[in-house]
């Protein structure tokens, strides 16, 4: 899948799916992003991105159990696939490789 790339937002949502584990659904991801990154995102954007990630085979989804909250609606739970994890890992490593190339310490006056 070398030709496939993830956008920044896609990567963020994919990471959150990985972070939340069994508890990753649309609303939880919005809240998590708000809490951890401090970014206000719209629910619709998260949903659309999740479905796109599903199309690419990076996450898969199933319906959770029924609850009394949410007007009785079930949650659509997303879980990261092996391909998704591999993708995240590859992106992280690629970034680390690049990061290493940046001269880290500049000695003033040296």
């Amino acid at each position: 899948m070398g030709k496939e790339f993830l956008g920044e937002f896609e990567e963020l949502v994919l990471t959150m799916v990985g972070v939340l584990g069994e508890d990753a659904y649309g609303n939880a991801i919005v809240t998590e992003i708000k809490d951890r990154v401090g970014r206000d995102v719209n629910l619709s954007a998260v949903h659309v991105t999740l479905y796109r990630l599903e199309d690419k085979g990076l996450v898969k989804s199933h319906m959770g159990g029924a609850t009394n909250a949410r007007g009785g609606r079930r949650k659509r739970i997303f879980t990261i696939t092996n391909a998704g994890l591999a993708m995240l890992r590859a992106m992280k490593e690629a970034r680390m490789d690049l990061w290493k190339l940046i001269p880290q310490l500049k000695i003033a006056g040296g």
């Binding site: 949903h47 949410r70 007007g71």
Partner: protein, 889 residues
């Protein structure tokens, strides 16, 4: 289920409407949860706003169309792969691809042409704004002959000729009728200075201009045809007589009567049933007189009416019957007595046809009227050809499937679903079909002129046609692609990978399925071949048959003298002036020169029995000029004045019809007006000859010189065969001296005879055309099949040759099965063709017999072509050095 207070239900309902159902629950749940959480944080009002906003943001293609088209990324990649593989395959097997593409493109091109044809047929007279209210009147006349004929559609003969008074009476007495006009076509001499031509004109009433949608280019509709001496021309005719000057107000001489041009009307389009070059008011026409207005028995004037919107047609029919009874009371009684009409039938009815139905109403003769049957036959041929091409594709794909086995096996092992493989092969065939479509388009533009000629149409492709055509062809193409690709796709995708990859059937493939296809294809082509052979023989028969008179080297010249005595003088003068010319053998005069001119038909009664005979008015030179043979009695004698009245020469058919044993002592009274008269004396009997088309039997006929029954309208000149153009020039000079103000027109009698069969000829051409293509396509199929067959048996041939087989015996071995297949096909096609051709020949009273050698000729021809297609590969395979084919073993 607990619902939240204050939730914007409209937004949720909107979401439920557009969101695919399997996503809805998860999304809705998230929305509700967020809403609940938001209320304490930002307040109800803002929470509502946020929910509505989110729903609106969700309204986007990726949600809307999800699962509508499951366009997974994986598909995108695979489709790219399919295109690559398909184009590689098409390019790698150039021969097979081009056979397929060629066949399919011809099939598609034919279908497009037929589509254009049918569209043109249906567009007839659709351009009139008032088309739903415009009707043509017709007469229904009781016909005893038709009543006795079980094949006809009833005892009534329909025709468009009406009473002269019908149009004004309908308009005056029937409240449903808004406008009414005559529509009487005629040929008349036009004269403007030295320009003299015969033109086709139409006599009409002023209402014409309000009824039909022929735009008036110049002139004022309100003032048109106030007087008798006006004329309205098409731009073409105006330019012919007046060049570039303004035609309005100019004067033309028509039948020695000056008329003034008061309008210019647009040329009627090709798909109009009303075709005219010049319009004149009917009041100025000779037959428009009180006599004809009073006589409701005189039919001869086509009539159109426009009804008020909402007119009740059933009611109108009753009123028309009442009109007929009112004006024709006595006529009907007479009519019933004379024609012995049974009490159950009325001798005469008036009916009406909507203008849009005129074109396809084949039982009423009219300009350009056409039989809807033709459209069916053409569509049948087009579909047949398309079908043959599809069969080619299927059998070639199947027989060459060995090459694809490995590919299928590997794809399956790697994880392709069967469905994906089906897609792949279907995709390939659709791609090839698309390629064929473009070639087909090219072929359409190439064939269109020839097609127009065959069908007698004037079809051109306009910009709007291109749009609808592209739509249709893409639809057709995809359909054909799927149809042809469907079976191979299912067949190929069904291979078991283990077997394929183990190499179990690498050796040969069975042609079990393709054999019946080839047979079927060959049945179709054999049918077309036999039909073409029969049609060709019959057309040759009718054009070369000895008609009983010599129709060759006879020039027919109309006297242009009208229905007057002058014609007789013109013939005499012409004879005298042409006598010195060595190229002129003899000159004769007649009222009708055969070949489509069937003479006057006289009906009379003999001992209570209805009989009819054709009558021709001739002069003493006529029989000699045409070489008509006498069997009894004598010809008319120029020196015997008694011959010019009350004497006739009859044919054998008339003698037989009357049951005469000694015809020279008989009289024939062919005038119904005076049933007691003794009639005309028979002075001679001629041998039967074909004065009618060969579709008809030889009917009773007679010749007379009695100028009360007709006058000479045509000069027949028998000329010597050498240098005919020079002779015609001399004849023209002679004619100019006699009638300087009349146009010199001429035709050849044998051309006129041949022209009677023009429509048959056209159909023979269409058959020949499609047969050629059907043969080419099926031969291409055979060619491809034979090639594959030879390749399959390469090893076998190699071994046989090593063992000592002759080239000839291998050649025979390879061809044997194709000969068998084509023999089977012929056995199947023969009864089909026999049936169809018997029907076709049935329209001729004189026709060839369907003998075995016609079929044998068709078979030999087909076999020969098939062998030619097959032999190339057989020879090639038989001559290969066995060392080459066996060395890999």
């Amino acid at each position: 289920m607990k619902e939240l207070n204050g939730i914007p239900r409209v937004a949720l309902r909107f979401l439920a409407w557009f969101c695919p159902s399997d996503l809805l629950e998860g999304i809705e749940g998230d929305l509700l949860e967020r809403f609940e959480d938001d209320i304490p944080d930002i307040g109800l009002r803002k929470a509502r706003g946020r929910l509505v906003w989110t729903v609106l943001l969700l309204f986007r293609p990726s949600i809307l169309l999800r699962n509508k088209f499951s366009w997974r990324i994986i598909n995108g990649i695979m489709i790219r792969n399919y295109i690559t593989v398909a184009s590689r395959n098409i390019l790698k097997r150039k021969l097979y691809s081009s056979i397929n593409a060629f066949g399919l493109s011809i099939g598609i091109a034919f279908c497009i042409l037929i589509y254009l044809f049918i569209k043109d047929e249906q567009s007839f007279d659709q351009f009139h704004v008032n088309k739903t209210h415009l009707y043509r009147m017709y007469s229904e006349v009781y016909d005893a002959g038709q009543a006795a004929n079980p094949e006809s559609d009833g005892p009534y003969r329909k025709m468009s000729q009406m009473q002269l008074a019908l149009a004004p009476v309908m308009k005056a007495e029937l409240p449903e009728v808004q406008y009414a006009t005559h529509y009487c076509q005629n040929n008349t001499l036009f004269r403007k200075d030295d320009k003299i031509f015969r033109e086709s004109i139409v006599y009409i009433d002023p209402d014409f201009f309000s009824m039909f949608s022929f735009p008036l280019l110049k002139g004022n509709v309100k003032h048109l045809f106030q007087g008798k001496d006006e004329i309205v021309l098409t731009p073409k005719l105006a330019e012919k007589y007046f060049g570039n000057t303004d035609p309005l107000g100019q004067v033309l001489i028509i039948n020695d009567r000056p008329v003034t041009v008061t309008g210019i009307i647009a040329e009627p389009p090709a798909n109009s049933s009303l075709q005219f070059q010049a319009l004149l008011p009917i009041e100025g026409w000779g037959p428009y007189n009180q006599h004809n207005l009073d006589k409701w028995m005189n039919l001869g004037f086509a009539t159109f009416v426009q009804l008020y919107p909402g007119a009740d047609l059933n009611n109108l029919q009753t009123k028309l019957a009442a009109l007929r009874d009112k004006y024709m009371t006595d006529d009907l009684v007479q009519w019933r007595e004379r024609d012995k009409v049974p009490a159950a039938y009325v001798p005469y009815n008036i009916g009406f046809t909507n203008i849009t139905a005129i074109h396809l109403q084949k039982d009423i003769s009219w300009d350009k009227v056409s039989d809807p049957k033709y459209a069916w036959i053409l569509s049948g041929i087009a579909l047949l050809i398309l079908f043959i091409a599809c069969i080619n594709y299927i059998s070639l794909a199947l027989t060459s499937s060995a090459r694809r086995r490995m590919e299928v096996g590997i794809r399956k092992v790697v994880g392709a679903y069967r469905r994906q493989l089906v897609y792949q092969f279907a995709f390939e065939s659709v791609m090839l079909a698309l390629l064929s479509m473009f070639i087909g388009f090219g072929l359409v533009t190439l064939f269109l002129p020839a097609f127009n000629e065959f069908t007698g149409k004037n079809i051109s492709i306009t910009a709007t046609d291109v749009i609808s055509l592209s739509g249709i062809s893409v639809g057709l193409t995809v359909l054909v692609g799927l149809l042809a690709g469907c079976y191979p796709a299912l067949y190929l995708s069904g291979f078991r990978p283990v077997q394929v990859l183990k190499g179990v059937f690498t050796a040969r493939l069975s042609a079990d399925f393709s054999k019946p296809l080839v047979v079927f294809q060959f049945v179709l082509s054999s049918f077309l071949i036999i039909s073409s052979v029969v049609m060709y023989r019959q057309m040759r028969f009718v054009t070369t048959k000895d008609l009983g008179y010599n129709q060759h080297q006879v020039i027919v010249i109309p006297t242009q003298a009208g229905w007057r005595e002058d014609g007789n003088k013109v013939v005499e003068q012409f004879r005298q002036l042409a006598a010195g010319n060595p190229s002129v053998v003899s000159v004769a005069g007649t009222d009708y020169p055969f070949a489509g001119n069937d003479g006057m038909v006289y009906g009379y009664q003999v001992k209570g029995e209805n009989k009819a005979t054709h009558g021709f008015n001739i002069d003493t030179y006529f029989l000699k000029t045409l070489g008509i043979q006498l069997v009894q009695g004598r010809d008319f004698d120029i020196n015997n004045l008694a011959d010019t009245a009350k004497t006739i020469v009859v044919n054998e058919a008339l003698v037989k019809d009357m049951g005469w044993t000694d015809p020279l002592n008989e009289h024939l009274n062919f005038h119904m007006s005076d049933p007691t008269a003794i009639g005309s004396r028979v002075i001679g009997v001629v041998k039967d000859f074909h004065f009618l088309s060969l579709e008809e039997n030889i009917k009773p006929m007679f010749f007379s010189m009695d100028r009360n029954d007709g006058s000479l309208h045509h000069i027949l000149v028998r000329v010597t065969p050498d240098n005919i153009p020079a002779t015609i020039e001399q004849l023209q000079k002679v004619f100019r001296r006699i009638s300087p103000d009349k146009p010199f027109e001429y035709t050849f009698l044998d051309d006129n005879v041949a022209r009677q069969y023009a429509s048959f000829d056209r159909w023979m051409n269409i058959m020949a055309f499609s047969t050629t293509f059907a043969i080419i396509i099926s031969c291409l199929g055979l060619f491809g099949l034979a090639g594959i067959n030879a390749v399959n048996r390469t090893k076998e041939i190699g071994i046989r040759k090593v063992m000592g087989a002759e080239v000839m015996s291998i050649f025979m071995m390879l061809n044997k099965q194709f000969i068998w297949l084509s023999l089977i096909a012929f056995a199947l096609a023969t009864p089909l063709a026999w049936y169809a051709m018997r029907r076709w020949l049935g329209s001729f009273q004189f026709h060839i017999d369907l003998t075995w050698y016609l079929f044998a000729a068709g078979m030999l021809l087909g076999l020969l072509v098939a062998l030619m297609a097959v032999s190339y590969h057989a020879v090639k395979a038989a001559r290969v050095n066995p060392a080459d084919s066996l060395k890999y073993e």
